[in-house]
Amino acid sequence: MGQFARFAGVRLLIAFVTLAVISVAVFAAMRSVPGSYADVMLPTNARPEARAALIDKYGLDDPLPAQYLKWAGNALTGDLGDSLTSGDSVVSELGSRAAVTVELALLGGLLALLVGVPLGLVGGISRSRRATGFVRVGNSVLLSLPDILVGALLVWVISTYEVPFTVGGWEPLFSDPYANLQAALPAALTISVLGMGFVMTTTRGAVAQIASEPYVQAAIARGETRGQIVRRHVLRNSSVPVLTVFAVYLGYLLGGAVIAEVLFSLDGIGRYVIDATGHRDYPVVQGAVLVAAAAFVLISMLVDLLYGVLDPRIGARSAK
């Protein structure tokens, strides 16, 4: 267990460093917007007192490193400033929209796994020419379907024909699960197609490779059945590469949800940020990017820890 704790410690450190680097990048990006930071962060009709308060709050007369520390400190305590357009606190605005984005990302990821893993497994194990040919075509098609096309098609179908799905009309999951899924499923499907392709490709490759590993050959020699070999050896051992791709894809989904939110008019973080980008609502953009980056770092760290659990060799190797 000591070994694992050390492994976990290293991951935590890496996550912290990554987050620090990202926050510096965001800070630098916001300061390189033309115009002074105070002008950028305030509505055009702001009064001089508000301006003075902002300069004081962020120490805008201090040297840049001091400004960064002040800004990062504020962000850490949950103060991301106020929206320029609505005047509401960015943190509370993001919080009220997070549920939609998180549900879309999780649902999309789940769909990608549910479709991608079994198809990849079939493609990797099957020896029949027909099955492998079919899988190859299916895989190329899944990897080539643009999410914007799938989404537009679904929106068109839903608004033209009688189907049990809706465009928009989001209900919170726990107040009306059925209505929630009516709105969430097509949106999640939109962003999951590419992930299905990725997961399928990776699963197929990993399974094909593991099938030739000596321990699988040995399992065959010991008379294990096909089902036993898949359950005992193939699934577990192929989970690491699949998880790697899945983690990257979850990171993509955090942003990819934007496309579904825009297409299906859902009030998530993504659409909020895109609108804010259009209105040059900088506090919102900056806050949302930071929060999304933090979420991404958190996911990567959890996935890294999961590696150590799934494949004991990884934990041992990196703790050295």
Binding site: A25, T132, R136, S144, L194, A208, G256, I274, G278
Partner: protein, 296 residues
């Protein structure tokens, strides 16, 4: 009845392998690959020569707004009365150019970085791999949003996103292909004999990574087109009056119930373009990777 006694001299190093004697017919015995190649050539030809065809201007209004496909306008018109056919042709060119251009730059950088990682010591190698890990798993949309905030939305934001997505994979693929070469004896021998790193790269590494890089380029372009499509769809990438396939879907989505072709046709064309590059990449990989041959 044949018995061969292989010569006892060790096989000569297969350094500059592949090359010269490539099969004359591309992707022989691979109908999917040939279909992809055909599609790719057709789309590139349309993108290149389309503007010369008598199909009208992509930016001038015809007067009819949101006309359905058919009478007068093959694919209908948009909300400003611009004919969609020439806009889609322009979109094909824009989308393919952005993806291809960025991927080529990413390839040059990726090949250099990947070979450098393989040749350099352990420390540098690990650093490069870690860095690509971080960029690779960083959500692209955040990068595009940051760039579009600083530089304003436009091609640059979409290109930055495409670059950020395609570079890390390229570095990894090249490094993975270069590592075993570096570890082979003849490279060590060349190093001992005092060959410069640049020479090692040119003579030993590049010929050996060429195969995987060509296949990877096709994949990267297909992914790049998807990313560009998403960015321009959201209004972060190509801006009107210019058009990319993604930006057309983005403006067409508002009229899905009135004129579904406006959004769906460019979407389908984008899908076909991505499919073409994917199939070609797949076929190239099959040609360069002998282990895949037997599995079929």
């Amino acid at each position: 009845m044949s018995v061969t006694f292989p010569s006892p001299t060790p096989a000569a190093p297969a350094a500059p392998s592949a090359g010269r004697r490539r099969p004359r017919v591309p992707f022989k015995g691979d109908p999917l690959g040939r279909f992809g190649l055909f599609l790719l050539i057709a789309l590139v030809a349309i993108g290149l020569f389309g503007p010369a065809l008598p199909i009208g201007s992509p930016t001038e209004s015809t007067g009819d707004r949101l006309a359905p496909p058919g009478d007068g306008h093959l694919l209908g018109t948009d909300e400003l009365g611009r004919a969609l056919l020439p806009r889609i042709v322009e979109g094909i060119r824009e989308t393919i150019l952005i993806a291809t251009g960025v991927v080529l730059v990413a390839t040059v950088v990726g090949v250099l970085a990947g070979c450098f990682a393989a040749l350099a010591g352990r420390r540098v190698d690990e650093l490069i791999v870690r860095a690509t890990d971080v960029i690779f798993s960083f959500p692209v949309f955040l990068i595009a949003i940051l760039v579009s905030v600083v530089a304003g939305p436009g091609r640059a934001a979409a290109m930055a996103a495409v670059f950020a997505v395609t570079l890390p994979t390229m570095v990894r693929v090249v490094r993975a292909a270069a590592l075993p070469v570096v570890e082979r004896d003849f490279v060590t021998a060349a190093e001992v004999a005092g060959a410069s790193r640049w020479r090692l790269l040119r003579v030993h590494l590049l010929p050996n990574v060429r195969g995987v890089v060509i296949g990877q380029v096709a994949y990267a372009i297909s992914l790049g087109m998807l990313i560009e499509g998403g960015m321009s769809f959201l209004g972060l990438g190509v801006q009107a009056p210019a058009a990319s396939l993604g930006s057309l879907v983005g403006s067409g989505r508002l009229y899905l119930t009135i004129d579904p072709a406006y959004a769906l046709v460019p979407g389908v064309v984008l899908g076909l373009a991505v499919l073409a590059f994917n199939l070609v990449g797949d076929a190239l990989r099959r040609e360069t990777d002998p282990t895949l041959e037997r599995e079929a």
